[in-house]
């Protein structure tokens, strides 16, 4: 049973060499996908837009 994201995926994201914003963003869109997968009536496009704006603000391009 899972009400959260597979720990393996979360750990793998944490291991990645990338900014904190990217890691947080990926975790957030996985939660969006979990809600969609579980039958939640969610518009992914709107949710993704919000998440991109939230995390891209502090993201520094290398």
């Amino acid at each position: 049973m899972s009400e959260t994201i597979n720990r393996r995926i979360l750990e793998k994201i944490e291991e990645m060499e990338c900014s904190r914003e990217i890691k947080q963003f990926l975790k957030e869109i996985l939660l969006i996908e979990l809600r969609i997968f579980e039958g939640g009536s969610i518009r992914y496009s709107d949710e993704y837009s919000k998440a991109i704006k939230k995390y891209a603000v502090n993201y520094k391009e290398v």
């Binding site: 899972s2 393996r8 496009s45 995390y55």
Partner: protein, 676 residues
């Protein structure tokens, strides 16, 4: 998450049974339910899937096909017109002691008019379809909460699409390897939640591609286009501002020139005012006008005097004898007044008296000769008198006319005198006016004034022209300002677009990097999961299989196609016995579960059915290790659950039940008895 208990009421062969799954020993996670084939093991799994999803997802035994959910004995004993409920109730508990209560109910009504005997006794009508009820008790809370959308929560616990990987039917397990490898791969994706990552990548990629379209209403534009537009608009704007500055300077010059013109105008006005406001042209015009009037009056005066003289010459002789006329006229008038002239009788009257012989006094004179003679004498004397009288009367009238003419002349002379005086007065005044104007004009330099006047008029013209030019220039500047304003708005919009574009470019770069990382995460997890499943499947299979050296390796490719490598080096999955395939399937499922992202209880139906004694013991010994921490329910037959198996599993078993089954005419009755 573990099952605490399941309560079944009138479901298939279970009339009223409760199975508790938890023991006080937390390390014991295995529940064993022993039952003969057909006693209700699969229906127990179906009771769980029916409770969770409203469907019996595992294959029914042939004898239950076409039967309603309701227990057949209960159904048979139902009275027509009555309703009986089928209920499955579950309590689940998580590691933090949060609980979820689930209950699904289906009512069945027996139609009226059935005897309770005969072949139609199994006819029932689903009377009530009560949706799943779910209550939730959060950790540390005392109050249960009614869950509004229980299906949503159920799918969060164990999605229906992958339930068969948690509720195994071992009689079907070996068939998994016959299914398309892609389906197993999809299942692995779902179980390990890689599907979520895959979906996230797809959605993020779509989002990234639609970013520009959504925000700017068009597809990706070249930054250079936007920058060029901003630059172009800036250049146009600068150029327009230069034109505006130039035109404003020109306007300032015009205004200065106008100010100069006004100064000049004021100067000449002042000069002209200082010369008593002499307006030479006006004065000359006035003098000419007065002179013309003077000439007219003089001419008119001469004419009047001539007329008067002519009239005087004409009347003068008469006037000289005016006294004689008056005397003569008076004499005649006196005679007339005395009645001497004209004669005071009529000749015809006398003649009539003579003719009639009767006097006017009435006396008869016909016989009076004397009277007749006198009358006849009167007639004779009358002719002479009458002639004189007429002459005098004519003279009198002529004298009267002459006298009146003299009087008329006098009246006319007065009028002439008045007119002459009036004209003379006007001539006098106009002569004075002309003299005054001439004096004034003599006092000024006419040429100078005319020159000043001309200059004044010129400056006024210049000023008027400049005013017109200034108005035109201002209109031009207003137009330029409007263009500047429009250009500024366009540039502002272009800058906003540019800023938005830069922002979107940043988002795009962010998404790009996120996609790169997400793909890397997915690839690495896929590799890790596959490697781990491969490793665990291999370890478990080789550990469980009884032909220890016959098989050397188990390989799983990227599509989850499983290969078992024979000691000869050949792929041997096609040659595995049914028992070997079941061991492989169990090994694979245990490996799959160990990498699963779901903390779900596992129910394995007939796990050891086709496996011989030695591997059975091996499986019983090792399965708890393979599925450590998972609540595992084994539905076994007496044949599977041998003494050795029981002994090997004993340290892990929390509860042990036996299903006592009583065959009925249709269906049967099952009782779950705890045996340990």
């Amino acid at each position: 998450m573990k099952i605490e208990y399941i309560k079944l009421k009138n479901f298939r062969q279970y009339v009223d049974e409760t199975i508790n799954f938890l023991s006080e020993d937390e390390n014991r996670n295995f529940i064993v339910i022993v039952a003969p084939n057909g006693a209700g093991k699969t229906n127990l799994v179906n009771a769980i899937t029916w409770c969770l999803y409203g469907k019996e997802l595992h294959q029914l035994k042939e004898k239950y096909l076409g039967l309603p959910l309701i227990n057949t004995t209960v159904l048979k004993n139902m009275k027509p017109g009555t309703t009986v409920n089928v209920e499955v109730e579950m309590m689940m508990v998580d590691e933090n002691n949060g609980k979820i209560f689930l209950k699904r109910t289906q009512g069945f009504r027996k139609p009226e008019g059935q005897s309770g005997q005969g072949k139609n006794d199994n006819d029932v009508i689903p009377a009530m379809d009560q949706p799943l009820t779910m209550l939730r008790l959060n950790p540390g809370q005392k109050d249960w909460i009614l869950v509004q959308d229980p299906s949503y929560i159920v799918n969060r616990l164990i999605p229906q699409s992958i339930e068969e990987y948690f509720f195994f039917d071992c009689e079907r397990l070996d068939k998994y390897f016959e299914e398309a490898a892609g389906e197993i791969r999809d299942a692995v994706f779902k179980i390990s939640q890689l599907q979520l990552l895959e979906n996230a990548i797809v959605h993020l990629d779509r989002k990234k591609e639609s970013l520009f379209k959504e925000e700017l209403g068009n597809k990706r534009r070249d930054a250079k286009d936007i920058e060029d537009r901003v630059r172009g608009l800036t250049e146009q704007l600068d150029e327009m501002k230069k034109i505006k500055d130039r035109e404003e300077k020109a306007l300032a010059n015009l205004e200065m020139e106008k100010e100069e013109a006004e100064q000049e105008e004021r100067k000449y006005s002042k000069l002209l005012e200082s010369h008593e406001n002499i307006n030479v042209q006006e004065l000359e015009k006035r003098r000419n006008s007065v002179n013309a009037e003077l000439e007219t009056d003089k001419k008119k005066l001469r004419e009047l005097e001539k007329e008067r003289l002519n009239m005087l010459v004409k009347i003068m002789p008469t006037m000289l004898i005016k006294t004689a006329i008056d005397k003569t006229s008076g004499f005649i008038a006196k005679k007339m007044d005395a009645g001497e002239i004209p004669p005071d009788f009529s000749e015809k009257f006398i003649e009539k008296i003579l003719e009639t012989g009767r006097c006017i006094c009435g006396a008869d004179i016909s016989n009076s000769d004397e009277a007749k003679k006198k009358l006849e004498a009167l007639i004779k004397g009358h002719d002479k008198l009458s002639n004189w009288s007429n002459e005098l009367l004519n003279l009198y009238h002529d004298l009267e006319i002459v006298s009146k003419e003299i009087d008329h002349f006098k009246e006319k002379e007065v009028i002439y005198d008045d007119q002459i005086r009036e004209i003379e007065e006007r001539i006098r005044r106009n002569t004075i006016t002309v003299n005054e104007i001439s004096d004034k004009l003599d006092k000024s330099s006419i040429e100078q004034i005319r020159d000043w006047n001309n200059k004044l008029q010129e400056w006024r013209k210049i000023k008027d022209k400049l005013s017109e030019d200034i108005g035109w220039k201002k209109a031009q500047i207003d137009q330029i300002r409007a263009q500047i304003s429009k250009l500024e708005k366009l540039r502002s919009d272009a800058i906003t677009t540019h800023e938005k574009y830069k922002e979107l470019k940043h988002y795009d770069a962010f998404c790009e990097e996120c996609l790169r990382i997400a793909k890397k995460v997915k690839d690495e997890i896929m590799r890790d999961v596959k490697n781990e499943i491969e490793k665990k499947t291999k370890e478990q299979f080789l550990e469980l299989i009884w032909k220890e050296k016959t098989y050397t390796d188990v390989k799983i490719d990227d599509n989850y196609k499983i290969s078992v490598i024979h000691e000869s080096g050949m792929e041997a999955i096609g040659t595995l016995s049914a028992g070997e395939r079941q061991v492989l399937a169990l090994s694979f499922m245990a490996a799959l579960n160990s990498v699963s992202g779901f903390d779900a209880p596992i129910i394995i139906d007939t796990p050891l059915g086709r496996i011989s004694r030695e591997p059975k013991i091996n499986i019983a010994k090792n399965l708890p290790n393979y599925l450590k921490g998972k609540q595992v329910t084994l539905l076994v037959t007496e044949e599977e659950y041998t003494h050795e198996v029981r002994e090997k599993l004993r340290p892990s078993v929390a509860k042990e039940y036996k299903i006592e089954f009583k065959e009925q005419e249709v269906g049967g009755l099952a009782k779950v008895v705890e045996i340990r």
